[in-house]
Each structure stands twice: as structure tokens, then as C-alpha cells.
Amino acid sequence: MAQIISIHSFRGGTGKSNLTANIAVAVASQGKRVGIVDTDIQSPGIHVIFGLDEDSFTHSLNDYLWGRCGIEKTAYDVTAELKTADGYREVAGKVFLVPASLKAGEIARVLREGFDVGLLNDGFQELTEQLDLDYLFIDTHPGLNEETLLSIAISDAMVIILRPDRQDFLGTAVTLEVAQRLDVPEIMLLVNKSPQAFDREAVIEQVQMRYGVAVGGLFQENDEMLQLASSGVFWLHYPEHPFSQEVHAVAQQLMAASSH
């Protein structure tokens, strides 16, 4: 049975989509069949990291939610599009992406008309069955809304991303309280965009002490990430970079947790 992992942050700009893409591809590189759904319908974008633009996909999650097509029509096999710094990289598994529309009119329509939240739950289940997925990653909208609450509620594991920032710290407490009320079995915190000047172990200890939840990884700010500018999956471009090593360590932890 597929493991559903939701990736969330209380505030925007934490690097959620980038980490989602990196971790999902790292899991796929271990021979797993992985799906990624962009439920950040109001501010989508993870498809850009996989080299997709509006012209390269005909159906999006929006089409499914409006009853225009089945969920399987919205899933794109991006495995062959995984670029490295000097070409393409084959991974042992598969990566399927369900993008959300980046067209202003379609985003406005979701806000204007809403959608059937139950369809989203059905779609996740159908997707895992039809694509025979081992893992389904849900890239959620920052903060809390209906689809984010559903994604959290049905998750086997939840990854919460925060920066070492006071506002993120307060917001993460809110997310954790909600996740605990929704009985999420596994919760992992990831600290992203940590300044190089901060002591890694001290930050991890501070976060773990504050929330009583394990920190699965800490990612430092780096120039290479800024230079890549969401034009690819970071660890494929910089496989030896400490950020990439941390991505693989987190992927291993998530896979180990799901095998319990």
C-alpha cells in the first residue's frame, strides 16, 4: 500500500516545493514509484523544477477537480526529464507529477467557485492504485486551508519545513497542534535556509527541544541553490553537495519510517 507523505510549511518561502522535488526524486532513485501532487492550487509551481511549463501539459489537477478528466490524465511521467548539470540522469524508479494550473484565470476560478474536497481524497487513492505508487508526496499550500487539512488528515507521514525564524517557529507550533489533532502517525521537521553562520547542532537541538519532535534534517543556505533558481532538481545537479547528502538522508529516514 502506498505511503502518503504531505510536505507542509506554515509560511511561504520556506523552500517547500524544492525540498519536495528533491526528496521525492531521491526516494525514486532507490527504485521506488513516486507520485507528486501539487495541491498548492493558489500558488502552484513545482512543475517548473521538473522542466514543465504551461505548454508541456494539457491537463492539471484543476481539470480533475472540475470534472473535466480522470486523475490519471493529469499525471505526467517526468522520469526521463530529470536533468543533471551536463545531461540527463536515469533513476531506478519512476517519478509522476500532477501539476496545478499556473494560468491566472484557472487559479481565479478555483478561488471563485471552490471545488469538491472529497474528489481530492478520491483522486489521491485512485492515483496510487492506477500508477501502482510506493509513495505519494503532496506539496501543500502554506498555512491552513481545506485541502491542506485533508492532505494532513490522510497522510501516513507529514514533513513540516521551517526556517530558523521566529515567525516560522510560532507558525510551526500551530501546524503541529493541528497535525496531532488529525492523528498523523509520523511527523518530521526539516529546517531549511539555515544561515551558514548558525551552528547546525545548536539549531537542531533548539528546534527539537521546542517542539518535542525529531528534526530529520537541516539544510543550509547556499549559492548553488540560488544559481539553479528552480531550474532543476538540486541533488541531480550537485550530487556531492552537503545539501544533496542531507536530501538522501531524509529520504532514507522516510523510507525507513514507512517500513515499520
Binding site: A104, G105, A108, R109, L111, R112, E113, G114, F115, D116, V117, G118, N121, D122, Q125, L144, N145, E146, E147, L149, L150, A153, I154, V178, R181, L182, D183
Partner: protein, 105 residues
């Protein structure tokens, strides 16, 4: 002064209940846990729900009936065997002047 519980279900007045994912957060532990479980299962029979709750089917049926009346769960009696399913409401659209929406579409 009465103790303020931020997770106490807000009182609603009139009309049939419509429930959202946010309402789920305000349910007492037992009911909330049952719906969380039902969301992951998608549907469940009375026997499965009773096993999850570790209760008799009569007790579980009473809990589920209360959740049906509150608008959180629906009973799919056309299925064989009949199943309980979470009743997720439509995510409502937002109210803004039509002029703004029309400009965006």
C-alpha cells in the same frame, strides 16, 4: 469565569449542518479519531468501525449515527455491505465583486 477551550465546537444556529475539514478539528477525541481513520479508509462497514473503536456494533452505530446527524458522515446503504463514508463538503468559493472575478478570467 468559565474556562475557555479553543477547540470547543462553535454553536451553530438554524439550517442543516454543513461540515468542513476545519469543523473536524473541533470534535471530541473519540469522534475525531474515528473520522480521521475513516478518511484514510475512505469507507468502512459497521463491523470495521466497531473493531477500530474497540466497541460493540451497537455502540459504534450510535457514535456513527450521531456523526451522520451532525453532517460529518454519510451512510451508503445502496452498497453491499452498506458502508460509512466521510461527508466532505465542497470548498466554498470566495465572495468578491463580480467585476474583479471577470477581470481575472
Amino acid at each position: 469565569m468559565a474556562e475557555c477551550n479553543e477547540w470547543q465546537m462553535p454553536q451553530r444556529t438554524g439550517g442543516s449542518p454543513t461540515r468542513t475539514m476545519a469543523d473536524l478539528l473541533f470534535l471530541p477525541d473519540l469522534e475525531r479519531s474515528l473520522i480521521n481513520w475513516l478518511l484514510r479508509q475512505q469507507t468502512a462497514t459497521l463491523a470495521e468501525a466497531a473493531a477500530y473503536l474497540n466497541q460493540s456494533e451497537i455502540e459504534a452505530a450510535a457514535v456513527l449515527q450521531d456523526l451522520i446527524e451532525q453532517g460529518f458522515v454519510q451512510w451508503l446503504d445502496q452498497l453491499d455491505p452498506p458502508q460509512y463514508q466521510p461527508k466532505l463538503q465542497r470548498r466554498k468559493g470566495r465572495n468578491m465583486p463580480t467585476k474583479i472575478w471577470d477581470a481575472l478570467e
